[in-house]
C-alpha cells in the first residue's frame, strides 16, 4: 500500500517564515466586539461548535473505531511515538485513557470484521504517516488542543478541539492548526478550517498563520492561510448558528 503526497502537511502550512504577517491584536478585538453584538438580546446561553466533519455523525462501530484510531495516532505522532502496529498501538492507547464503550463494541466484531477493520486502519495510518511526516519537537507540536471561549459575559461560548497544533503564539503569525478526519473532505471543510482559525484568534488574541484539514480516507488536504476572508467566513458560520438557535 503506497501513498506519497508531494509535501507533508506542516510543509504546506508553515509557509515562508520570512514573510509571515504580523499578528495584530486589534483583529481579535474587532471580531469579538462584532460577534458579541449578535447575542446582546439573547438570554439563554448559546454554545457553538465546529461544523461536523463529513461522516462524523455515523454511529456505526467501524466508523467510530476508525475515527478514534486516527485521532489517537495523531496524538502518538505529536508525542514522538513511532507506531509499528497502528491499530493495536492506537487501541492500546485508547484503552488506557478512554471510555470502555469502544472496547466493548470491538469485542462484538467477528474475525472477518476485525481483519477488514485492521486492513482499513492500516491504510489510514499509511496516509497519516506520509501526510504528517516527522514532527520536529522544536515546532512544539501538541494534539487535541481544547478551547472554550466565552463571549458577551457567557451568553455565547465557542467550543473547539484542534487535532494538531504547531508553532507558538508570538508577534508574528506562526501557529498552524491541523484538523484530521478519517472521512473524505466534505462541503463543510472550509467552514471547519475557518472556525478553528477564528476560535484560536479569539482565544489568544493573535491570528494564526494557517489552518488546514487532512482526510486520511483520500489523502486530500485543504489548507488556508488565515486572512480576513477566512475569519469572515467563520464569523458567518457562527452568526448562522446563533440565528438557528
Amino acid at each position: 500500500m503506497t501513498y506519497a503526497p508531494a509535501m507533508t502537511i506542516l510543509d504546506v502550512v508553515r509557509g515562508d517564515p520570512l514573510s509571515r504577517p504580523l499578528s495584530e491584536e486589534s483583529v481579535a478585538l474587532a471580531l469579538r466586539t462584532r460577534i458579541e453584538t449578535w447575542v446582546t438580546t439573547r438570554e439563554e446561553p448559546i454554545i457553538v461548535r465546529a461544523p461536523r466533519a463529513e461522516g462524523a455523525a455515523l454511529a456505526q462501530s467501524a466508523s467510530r473505531v476508525r475515527g478514534i484510531v486516527v485521532h489517537e495516532l495523531v496524538r502518538l505522532a505529536a508525542a514522538g511515538y513511532d507506531w509499528r502496529n497502528p491499530a493495536v498501538d492506537a487501541l492500546n492507547a485508547w484503552r488506557a485513557n478512554g471510555p470502555r464503550e469502544l472496547v466493548e463494541d470491538l469485542a462484538r466484531f467477528d474475525a472477518d470484521e476485525r481483519a477488514a477493520l485492521r486492513a482499513d486502519l492500516e491504510a489510514h495510518a499509511v496516509v497519516l504517516r506520509r501526510t504528517l511526516g516527522s514532527l520536529p519537537p522544536s515546532w512544539m507540536p501538541r494534539s487535541a488542543v481544547r478551547a472554550r471561549v466565552a463571549l458577551a459575559g457567557g451568553r455565547l461560548t465557542l467550543v473547539d478541539v484542534v487535532d494538531l497544533m504547531a508553532g507558538i503564539v508570538g508577534s508574528r503569525a506562526s501557529v498552524a492548526l491541523v484538523d484530521v478526519t478519517s472521512s473524505p473532505l466534505g462541503a463543510d471543510a472550509e467552514d471547519r478550517v475557518a472556525y478553528h482559525a477564528l476560535v484560536q484568534t479569539l482565544r489568544t488574541s493573535r491570528v494564526p498563520l494557517a489552518s488546514a484539514m487532512v482526510s486520511t480516507a483520500t489523502g486530500d488536504v485543504l489548507s488556508r492561510e488565515v486572512d480576513d476572508d477566512v475569519l469572515e467566513r467563520a464569523a458567518g458560520y457562527v452568526q448562522r448558528c446563533i440565528e438557528a438557535t
Binding site: A93, M140, P141, T204
Partner: protein, 266 residues
Amino acid sequence: MSALTSAPLHGARFHALLTDAPALAPSLDDEQRRALADRVRSLAGSEPRRLDAWSVERVEAPRSFRWSAMNARRTLGNAALRRVASQHSSSVLEAVTDVVTDRLLAAAAGFARPGSLGHWLAQLDDPARAIVVAEATNWATTLVELSHDLDVAWRPAASDAYYALAGARVTLRAQREFLIDGSTRIVVRVRSGSPGRSAGAGLRAELAVETLAHPHGDAPGRYVGIWPDAGLALAVEGTLEDVRTGARHLLRAARRASADGLSRAA
C-alpha cells in the same frame, strides 16, 4: 473585599494584572493562623483531608482518585516547564519525556509507592504512556507560551503552596505555576477549561493558603488565575479582607467535606 478583575490574555489589561499590584500586602500573625486552625480542627474528621480551590468550587461530592493522562499532565507538565526554564531540556517534548523517564527510573528502583504517579506510569504500555506524554506536552507548551506573554521577570513555582493545620489532619493547598517577584509578590496559577461562577471563591481560597504558607504570613499582592482554553485571566487583590474571605470559603469546604464523610459512613 476587592472586586474580581478580568482581562483577556495578552494585551495591556493582562499586562497590568501582572505589574500593578498593591505595594503593601498584609500579613497574618500567629494568632490569626491559630484561630483558623482551631475552627478547621473542630470540623475535621478522622481521615486525612486536603482542601484546595477545587474543594471550594466543586458542586458534587468527590469521586475516588485514579490517575489518567488528564490528571497527570499538570504534575508532569509543570516539572517540564522547570526543566525548560533552567535550560536542562532543549524542547518541551524532550523535557516531558525526561520527566517521565525520571519517574520510571524511580519506580524501577523501588522508590515509587503504590498509587503514586511513577507507579502508575510504570504499569502502562508504551502507547498509553505516549498519550500521557502528549497530554503533558500540551500543558507544558501552554505554560511556555504563556511565559512568553507574561512580559515581566518570572520564575516557575518549585511546588504548590501547602499549609498543614496542626492537629486537624487537614492540609491546605494552593496551586501555582508562575511567581513574579516585582515590587510585590504576584502568584499566577493556570487552569484548564473556562472559569465557572465560583472561580473567584477558588482564587480567594488559594490566596488565603498562599498567605498562610508564607514563612512570615505575608499575602501576595495579587493572585492571578489564567484559563488559557478560554483566553481569560481573573485576579483577586491580596487584601486582608480577601484573605479572610478565602479562609471562610475553605472553612465551608471543610464543613461540606465533613458532612460528605458522615453521610458516607452512615
